[in-house]
C-alpha cells in the first residue's frame, strides 16, 4: 500500500544536519554547480528513493494541479535564488492546510496550501522557499543521513565498550543523541542564514524572513489564548527539538537582515492576486480546523493587506456560525450580510445566512435566503434537506 506523500515529504525533508556558519554582513552566495548529479553511493541511493517518491507525489490526490499557481511559486523561487539555480527544482503544491514546505535531495519541493494562506507577501513566500532551497543546495539530506549513521555507529560501539569496561556510558549516549538533534537545529539555522542571503540579493527585502516567524508566534499565541492555555513564555529549543524556536529565528534573522540593510518591494498585493482563485478553498479548509482564535488571527492578517473583502467576511461568518453560540449567530448573520454588501454572493453565503437566521429563531427571514440559495443552486447536493426549512 502506498505510503502517504506527506509522510514521505516530511521524512525526506527531515533528513537534515550540520553546523552553524558565522553570519557575515555581505550576502555572498556559495559557488553553484549546475546540473549537479549525486556523487556517492549514499547520495545516489537517496536520489533514487526521492525520485520514486516524486513520481507518487505527481499522482497524489493532495496535489493542486494548477499550472498558473505552480508558475507563480516557481517564479518567486527563481526571483529569490536566481534563474540558474532554480532550474534544478520542481515545485509540487499540496492541498494541506498547515504551514509547511519541504525539500527532497533530488530537487522536489513541496509547498503546502496552509503556507500560501499564511504568508502575506511574495517576499515572505520567498523567505520560506529560499530556506528550503538552501537545504537542497547544501545537501543537508545527505549530510544528515551520514551524520545519523555515524552517530548511531558510535552509539553501539560505546555500549559494547561500556559493557567490557563496566563503565556506565549512559551520559555519553544521551550526549550523542543530543548531538544528533542539535545538528538538525544547526542545519536549520544554516539554511535560514543562506536563505536570508538569497533574499538579500533578490528584489525582496530580507526582513520578510523574520516577519514569517513573528507571525507564526503570534498565531500560536492566538490559538493558545482561544484554548485558555498559558502563553508560551519559553521559546527556547528543548533537547529533542529539531528546529530552532520561532523566537530565536525571528531574532537572528532580523539582526542579520538589519546588517544587510537591503531594501525591496515585498509585493503583497501581487501575492494575494496570485492565490485569489484558491483563496476561498484555502480559507474554508482553515475554518474547518476548529481553531477559532488562530483562524481569526490569519483572517485579520490577510485583511491588513487586502481589507475585509467579501471572501474574508464570508470565511469569518462561517467561523462564527460553526462555533454556534447564540451571540456567534448574530455575528455570523452580520458578517454574511457584509460579505454580500461587498459584492460576494455565491450560493454558500445565502445558505449560511439563511441557516444562521433559522438557528437564531428568525425562521421566516432565514427561509427567504434559503429560497434564494435554492434558486441560485437548484442542483446543490443539499437542496432536498434545505427545502425542509422553506415553507411550501
Amino acid at each position: 500500500m502506498k505510503r502517504s506523500v506527506i509522510v514521505t515529504a516530511i521524512a525526506l525533508a527531515a533528513t537534515i544536519p550540520l553546523a552553524v556558519n558565522a553570519a557575515d554582513d555581505e550576502p555572498v552566495l556559495p559557488p553553484y554547480v549546475p546540473a549537479y548529479e549525486p556523487q556517492s553511493v549514499d547520495e545516489r541511493g537517496m536520489w533514487m528513493m526521492a525520485d520514486e517518491q516524486e513520481k507518487l507525489m505527481a499522482l497524489s490526490e493532495l496535489r493542486i494541479d494548477d499550472e498558473e499557481l505552480n508558475a507563480y511559486v516557481e517564479r518567486v523561487l527563481c526571483d529569490t535564488v536566481g534563474k540558474d539555480r532554480c532550474t534544478g527544482v520542481r515545485v509540487h503544491i499540496l492541498n494541506i492546510p498547515a504551514f509547511n514546505a519541504t525539500m527532497s535531495p533530488n530537487g522536489a519541493m513541496t509547498v503546502w496550501s496552509g503556507l500560501l494562506l499564511r504568508v502575506r507577501s511574495e517576499a515572505q513566500l520567498a523567505a520560506v522557499l529560499g530556506h528550503e532551497f538552501a537545504h537542497f543546495e547544501m545537501r543537508h539530506s545527505l549530510k544528515g543521513f551520514e551524520q545519523r549513521r555515524s552517530a548511531s555507529d558510535a552509539w553501539s560501539w560505546l555500549a559494547v565498550l561500556g559493557g567490557i569496561a563496566q563503565v556506565n556510558t549512559g551520559d555519553a549516549q544521551v550526549s550523542l543523541v543530543g548531538s544528533i538533534f542539535q545538528f538538525n537545529r544547526g542545519q536549520e539555522t544554516e539554511a535560514d542564514l543562506l536563505g536570508l542571503k538569497y533574499l538579500a540579493q533578490s528584489p525582496y527585502p530580507s526582513r520578510a524572513a523574520s516577519e514569517v516567524w513573528q507571525q507564526l508566534m503570534e498565531e500560536a499565541d492566538a490559538t493558545d489564548f482561544g484554548r485558555k492555555l498559558k502563553r508560551r513564555e519559553s521559546y527556547r529549543a528543548g533537547f529533542f527539538d529539531t528546529h530552532p524556536t520561532s523566537l530565536s529565528r525571528a531574532d537572528y534573522l532580523l539582526d542579520q537582515a538589519l546588517a544587510y540593510n537591503d531594501s525591496g518591494d515585498p509585493r503583497d498585493d501581487e501575492h494575494y492576486a496570485a492565490i485569489k482563485k484558491h483563496l476561498p478553498k484555502f480559507l474554508s479548509d482553515q475554518v474547518k480546523l476548529n481553531d477559532f482564535n488562530g483562524t481569526e488571527y490569519i483572517l485579520s492578517g490577510i485583511a491588513g493587506t487586502t481589507g475585509w473583502t467579501g471572501e474574508l467576511l464570508h470565511a469569518r461568518a462561517e467561523l462564527f456560525a460553526a462555533r454556534g453560540n447564540p451571540r456567534d449567530l448574530i455575528t455570523s448573520t452580520t458578517l454574511y450580510l457584509q460579505a454580500m454588501e461587498a459584492g460576494y454572493r455565491p450560493p454558500e453565503t445565502l445558505r449560511g445566512l439563511g441557516l444562521s437566521l433559522v438557528k437564531s429563531g428568525k425562521r421566516s427571514e432565514g427561509a427567504k435566503y434559503l429560497e434564494d440559495y435554492l434558486a441560485a443552486a437548484p442542483e446543490a447536493p443539499d437542496a432536498a434537506i434545505i427545502k425542509m426549512y422553506v415553507p411550501k
Binding site: V5, L62, G324, V358, A384, I385
Partner: protein
C-alpha cells in the same frame, strides 16, 4: 502444588476469555449497540471492534476497519465531541451544539475528521431528508482521502437529533471494490435500526 494448578488454570481462563476483545456479531437482533443506545438486526456476520474512540462510539467491520466499517455514534450530548479528544486543551474537537440543525451534522463530521485525523480532502455529497426510527433525520454521503494511505474512502450515513442528543450511523469503505460490495448490507441494517435514546 494445588496453588500452582489454580494459578495456571486462572491464567489459561484469562487467555481464553479476554475481558474485552473483538466480538462476532451474529445475524439477528442485537440490542446492545453503544451500550444499548441502538438496536439493529444485521443480516450477515460482523465483528465488533474492541477499540472504541470515545464513549459514544462503536465500530463494526467485516474485513478490518480500513476496508469496511459501520460506525455508530450514540447519544452524543450537547458540548461533547463525536470522538475522544487526544488532548482536550490543546487539540479540542468540535462539539455538538444545542442549536444544531440537521444540515449541520455532515459539517460536524467533516470538521471532526479534519481536526482529529488530519484529513485534508473531504467533501460532502448528497444530503436528503430521512427518518431514523420515526425521527426526522438526514441521510448523506461523503468521500475523503485517507491521509495515511491516500485511499479514496466513501461514506454513507444517517443521523438524527433527538432530545439534545446526536445519533449518527455511518458506513465507510474504500471507493474501489469494498464500498460497492458491502453498502447494501449497511442499507438493510439501517432499515432495522432503532433508538433507545
Amino acid at each position: 502444588m494445588l496453588r500452582h494448578i489454580t494459578a495456571a488454570l486462572t491464567a489459561l481462563t484469562l487467555l481464553s476469555f479476554p475481558a474485552a476483545a473483538h466480538k462476532v456479531i451474529e445475524p439477528g437482533l442485537n440490542n446492545n449497540i453503544v451500550k444499548g443506545v441502538f438496536s439493529a438486526k444485521p443480516e450477515s456476520r460482523w465483528n465488533r471492534l474492541q477499540q472504541r474512540d470515545g464513549n459514544f462510539q462503536e465500530v463494526w467491520t467485516i474485513d478490518g476497519d480500513r476496508l469496511n466499517r459501520i460506525v455508530f455514534y450514540g447519544g452524543v450530548p450537547v458540548g461533547q465531541p463525536l470522538l475522544r479528544e487526544r488532548d482536550k486543551k490543546r487539540d479540542p474537537l468540535p462539539a455538538v451544539t444545542g442549536n444544531m440543525l440537521l444540515p449541520d451534522i455532515p459539517l460536524l463530521l467533516e470538521r471532526t475528521y479534519r481536526t482529529k485525523y488530519g484529513v485534508a480532502i473531504m467533501s460532502i455529497g448528497k444530503q436528503e431528508p430521512a427518518t431514523l426510527d420515526g425521527r426526522p433525520a438526514i441521510a448523506f454521503d461523503y468521500t475523503y482521502i485517507d491521509p495515511e494511505y491516500e485511499v479514496e474512502t466513501k461514506g454513507e450515513a444517517i443521523a438524527a437529533l433527538d432530545n439534545g442528543k446526536l445519533y449518527l450511523v455511518a458506513f465507510e469503505a474504500p471507493a474501489v471494490y469494498y464500498f460497492g460490495r458491502d453498502v447494501e448490507k449497511f442499507r438493510n441494517l439501517v432499515t432495522t435500526l432503532s433508538l433507545k435514546g
